[in-house]
Subunit: 175 residues, 2 copies
DNA sequence: GCCCTGCCTGTTACAGTGTAACGCTCGGCG
DNA sequence: CGCCGAGCGTTACACTGTAACAGGCAGGGC
C-alpha cells in the first residue's frame, strides 16, 4: 500500500525520533535480526511461531488484529489459532519487538530500537489507517515531571494520537 | 472504598491540573449539573438513562466496564441491556462528561471541566485500580510540537500511564 | 385530533477480543 | 529411562462492541 517511500533518506531527514513509516522486507529483516540477538543474549526462545508472527506484523503496513494475524499464519490444513498468536504477541510485546495499539486492539512492529524506558508516541491516521511511531525526549520529560508532581510511579505508558497523517492531508486538499 | 479524602482542600493544594481522586456524591452532583447545563445550552436531551449512567460511573471510585454499568442499572424485573449503556456512554463521552480508558475498556467520570481541545492524562494504579485525571499544558505543548514536526493533524489524544499511585506506594513501603 | 418525523430506548443477534484450562510434544538433565 | 519446564494445539468460555429492527414518545404541520 502507498507506493513510494523506499527509505535510506533516513539519516539525513533532520527529524528527531521520527522513523517515517518503514514497513516491508527491509524492516522485517531488521526486526528478525534484533529478535535473534535478543533471544541469544537473554537465553530466550525465538521460535518459528514467534518469528512468523513478527514477520506477518512487520510486513503489513497497518495495525493487525490478533485474529487477522492468525488467519495470515494459517494455511489450508494447518490452522493457527488466535490463542497461539496471543501468546506469541505476548512474547513480542514484552520484549519491545511489536507494540499494541490500545485504541485499535491491534499490533504494529516496533520502528525503533528503543529500550523499555523510552516510550513511544503513536500517530494513527483515520484516513489511511497507518501508524507512525515516534520518540520525543521532550514529551518524556513533560510526562516525567507531571508524574513526579502527582507522586505517581509509572510502569508503562500509552500515548496514541488519532488524526490525519501528512500524506492524507495533501491527498484531501489537492485532490 | 478507600476512606478519608473528603475534598475541599482542592483550591489550596498548589498542584496544577491535578484533581485528586474525587468521586462520591459531591462530584456526582457537579457532573449532573454540568450535564444539565450543557443539554440546556446545546438543545440536547439529558435523558433518565443518560443521567443514571453518569451517576453510576461517577459514584464508583474506579473505572467501570459497560456491562458492569448495565448490571448496576438493572433492577429485578427491569434489566438494562449493555447496548443501551453503550449508547448512553457515547453521548456522555462525546460531550466530555465521562472518559473511556482505552487500556482497560472501561469508563471514568471526568474530573475536570476541560474543553474538547484540552486532553487529559490518566494515571492508572495497578494496585488499587484508581484512575486520576490530570491536565498538563506542558505535555500538550510538547505533543503539539511533535505532531507539527511530523506534519500530523491530531483529532483526539489518548495518554494513559499505568503504575503505582502515591497512596499505594506508601502502603507497600510502610505498611 | 391525526399523521409524520426524529430521537431515544428495548430487543435480538452477532462479530470481535481476550483468557483459562488441559493435554501433548520436545529437549535438557539426572 | 523418568522428570521437568517451555511452547504450542485445542476447546471452551467470558468480555467487549455493533448492526438491525421495532416500539415509545414528543413536537410540528395539517
Ligand atoms: Zn517501538
Ligand atoms: Zn493517512
Ligand atoms: Zn476530563
Ligand atoms: Zn493505588
Amino acid at each position: 500500500m502507498e507506493a513510494g517511500k523506499r527509505m535510506d533518506e533516513h539519516e539525513t531527514c533532520g527529524h528527531h525520533g521520527h522513523a517515517h513509516d518503514a514497513h516491508g522486507p527491509a524492516r522485517t529483516a531488521d526486526l528478525v535480526a534484533r529478535a535473534e540477538r535478543l533471544a541469544q543474549d537473554l537465553g530466550l526462545q525465538f521460535t518459528a511461531l514467534r518469528r512468523r508472527t513478527l514477520e506477518v506484523v512487520a510486513e503489513e503496513g497497518r495495525p493487525l488484529g490478533a485474529y487477522d494475524i492468525a488467519e495470515r499464519l494459517s494455511v489450508p490444513g494447518k490452522r493457527v489459532a488466535a490463542v497461539s498468536v496471543y501468546r506469541a504477541l505476548d512474547f513480542l510485546t514484552e520484549h519491545g519487538l511489536v507494540h499494541r495499539i490500545a485504541s485499535r486492539n491491534a499490533f504494529v512492529p516496533c520502528e525503533h530500537g528503543h529500550g523499555a524506558g523510552e516510550s513511544a508516541v503513536f500517530l494513527i491516521c483515520r484516513s489511511c489507517g497507518s501508524v507512525d511511531e515516534t520518540i520525543s525526549a521532550e514529551i518524556e520529560r513533560s510526562l516525567d515531571r507531571t508524574l513526579a508532581e502527582a507522586g505517581f510511579k509509572p510502569a508503562s505508558r500509552i500515548v496514541e494520537i488519532e488524526g490525519e497523517c501528512g500524506a492524507c492531508q495533501g491527498r484531501s486538499e489537492a485532490g
